[in-house]
């Protein structure tokens, strides 16, 4: 189910809140688990079984990991972690990458059979990572294991963040899994964040997405159209994904959970390193804690550090999807991080060069999004080629699919790159009691939210971009 669908907004969410509020406290986890399973099954059907496999495996391995931690038995801990990683990554490998690998093998002449028709379970990259992190954290003694299977299943399947994050690690919501309150404060705070995310998604992301789709689907592009398309996608993916994260955080808060922040004004980053501290923060933290640091992290010889960086970003790219574009996008970002570390560019300072550094970083990121968005490496090369062709600054055929509202929305959305680095809107809307926060909140929720709901009521199916990852 999609947060921005009519079914979810006008029926599922009010019903879920009502049922949850009326449920006796001891049954609330059961009720919320059932709500989450209905939510997932609605969008995935029978493939919900894959989710069950991940849940059951890591629930059982949690006991093994806990025993290893309690007895300080290195072998038991390693067994739990290895089993969790093997099972979850196998699920991921089969459902997400098998078809792609077989296609590549066929292209290379190594395989002659037909590629299997595999349906990708929505959100598999998120829930497998979340499930794995539980077993690893228990094995490391970072948190206690869960005895109640309902509680553990709820942790993995909690519907606000189940299919597109943020990736929540168990220790972050452990107290709330065990006990939480349903309060008007949480409900209000959640409503503000949810409404903010809905406006981002429906009013901004979906509108500029039309421009991006037209540009990336065009057979030929002028230089102007190529840049407008790249900028439109840059805005679309940010407002789409950060909007989803806001909605997830808001929904979590309504049900009493504190889901971690996922974005912190990424387009104000002064370096690519800084960008990754601000973009999809929970994924960056996951790779840092469960891959980069175990590999040795930033310690050791420079060559080893560079190797670690490139491995992490190669896998970060691959995590987003089974396509060479994602692989190259990951290597592209890893390469920039490597250069920044090598030449000391990643250090953040407040000198006058900050504006130039923000602009440069943004340019690097925009070019990266072209690689990310393109259907193939060839298409990415064509688009990037058009961006430097210097032949025609006009929009060409793109003008036909660009409405005035889309243009104005794109221009307005682009102002986000000029905002102060610390102006992270979501938390400000909830916590800032000063005038600017109140004005922004009133504008977004008083005007933007009804408009967003009307757009939802009138529109067609529009999934979030990160559902595919």
């Amino acid at each position: 189910m999609v947060f921005s669908s009519v079914t979810f907004l006008f029926f599922f969410l009010p019903a879920a809140l009502a049922v949850y509020a009326l449920a006796p406290r001891p049954l609330r986890n059961v009720v919320l688990l059932l709500i989450s399973l209905v939510f997932y099954t609605w969008g995935s059907g029978a493939i919900v079984g894959v989710l069950f496999v991940s849940v059951i495996v890591d629930y059982v391995l949690g006991f093994v990991a806990a025993a290893g931690a309690r007895l300080d038995d290195h072998r038991l801990r390693r067994l739990a972690i290895t089993a969790s990683v093997v099972v979850n990554l196998s699920l991921l490998a089969w459902f997400k990458y098998a078809g792609w690998l077989i296609e590549n093998a066929a292209d290379a002449g190594l395989y002659s059979g037909a590629a299997p028709d595999i349906v990708l379970p929505i959100g598999i990259s998120f829930f497998t990572f979340q499930s794995m992190s539980y077993t690893i954290d228990v094995a490391r003694g970072r948190c206690d294991h869960l005895v109640n299977p309902i509680d553990f299943a709820l942790y993995v399947t909690l519907f606000p963040q189940l299919i597109a994050g943020p990736i929540v690690r168990y220790h972050e919501i452990e107290p709330e899994i065990r006990r939480r309150d349903l309060t008007t404060h949480h409900l209000g705070e959640g409503a503000v964040r949810f409404g903010h995310g809905l406006v981002k998604k429906l009013v901004i992301a979906d509108t500029v997405g039309v421009v991006a789709d037209a540009a990336f689907g065009a057979d030929e592009l002028t230089m102007g159209a190529a840049w407008v398309g790249a900028l439109a996608y840059t805005m679309q993916i940010y407002f789409d994904f950060s909007g989803y994260s806001d909605m997830a955080i808001g929904l979590g808060k309504m049900f009493g959970f504190t889901i971690p922040e996922n974005f912190a004004r990424p387009y104000s980053a002064v370096s690519v390193t800084d960008f990754w501290r601000r973009w999809h923060i929970t994924l960056s933290n996951w790779f840092r804690d469960y891959l980069y640091i175990p590999l040795g992290g930033g310690r050791g010889r420079p060559a080893a550090v560079y190797r670690n960086l490139m491995i992490v970003f190669l896998l970060t790219g691959l995590w987003h999807g089974a396509n060479w574009t994602f692989v190259v996008w990951g290597i592209y970002h890893g390469g920039w991080l490597l250069l920044e570390r090598r030449f000391g560019w990643r250090n953040v300072d407040n000198t006058g060069a900050q504006i130039a550094r923000r602009a440069t970083t943004l340019l690097i990121v925009v070019v990266g999004w072209v690689i990310f968005r393109a259907d193939s490496l060839g298409a990415a090369a064509d688009h990037l080629g058009a961006m430097v062709s210097f032949d025609d600054l006009g929009l060409g055929a793109l003008a036909r699919s660009t409405s005035t509202r889309a243009v104005l929305t794109l221009l307005g959305a682009s102002l986000v790159v000029f905002l102060p680095r610390d102006a992270v809107t979501g938390p400000i809307l909830v916590t800032d009691i000063e005038r600017r926060g109140r004005i922004a909140r009133t504008a977004i929720l008083g005007v933007g939210l009804p408009f967003a709901l009307l757009l939802a009521a009138s529109g067609a199916f529009s999934p979030f971009l990160y559902f595919q990852f």
Binding site: S5, F10, L454
Partner: protein, 357 residues
Amino acid sequence: MARPDHRLWAVWLLGLLLVPLGLTLARVEPNALPGTTTDAPEWDAGRLLDDAYYRSIDDWIRDESNARGAGLWTRHLIDYRLFGDASSPLVAIGDNGWAFSRSWIDVPCADIDAIAAPSGSPFITWTVPIAKSHWLDHLLEPHDRGDACTESARKDLRERMTDDPRGLDVNQAFDDDAAGRFYRRDPHWNGAGRIAVAELIVERFAPGLWDPGAIVATEESLLQGMDRFLGVNDRSTVADVDVDRGITVEHVSDPVDGLGILIWQHSRAHADDVVPGTTYMFGDSQMASVVPEIEQYFEELIFVGWLRAALGPLPYDQLPAPDRVFVEALDQSAAQSFQQPVLAEVIARLPAADDEG
């Protein structure tokens, strides 16, 4: 403790989310929307693990939501009324303000562009409205303009045609006797109507050549136009014409299962009393019925019939270059055709009126 405005926003959000439910409980019916809506899915316990089943429920809920009409109208207000744009990327706004589905116009637009680009200016004929106008089924536009819009649009179009030297307003053929020139239960011109239109066209292209003596009017069919609805060939109701003038008719492209582009090519020897060169005529069933009446006046007349759907590329390699293009547009045709935005596109790309050939 909750701040008062937090509580307010919670109430605001939940209130908004409950609006459709409240309207339903208050028995406020969903707005009448154009197009077919999704049928209510039947309860099927065997499909509870089938995601397609849930998608059909989503579609049904979306279509039946009381808020959908308001949502469509909001988008329409902003995009169309405020900015003059279509409220969906699937929709193109025609030259006269009508909205059309791009999926219908892209192929014929490209076809016409390819043919018309090297030619002179087109002559455009606006035909009389003979049915209530309404929106295309699949447009995301509300059905709220009704007859007033139709009349207004028709008036606007006729004024444009009067002012535009490229235009030929065949409404004038019906101003005096509209009732006598249509089938009674069919939205097409009858024999008398076709003859009147044919005369206007011939006089426009070749003044003085129209020969009323070549026409032998016949009586209308007893079916009074119902034959079209019944699928009966109505050629018996077509006025006889003098076809003994050296015309050859070539069927270049067959329609597939009654759909697609149908091309008739009519040729006769070059003579002083014919419109010289190659004339392309784009139209649908109205103009197709006039072809027998006018083909004798053209050295070469190629009629391209836009039938309902499944439009494919024209066989350009089989077709000669045009000397002129003649495009039919129906101001009543929003429900059944796509000519107007095509024309808007074509007009925008053609030479100015002074270049008229």
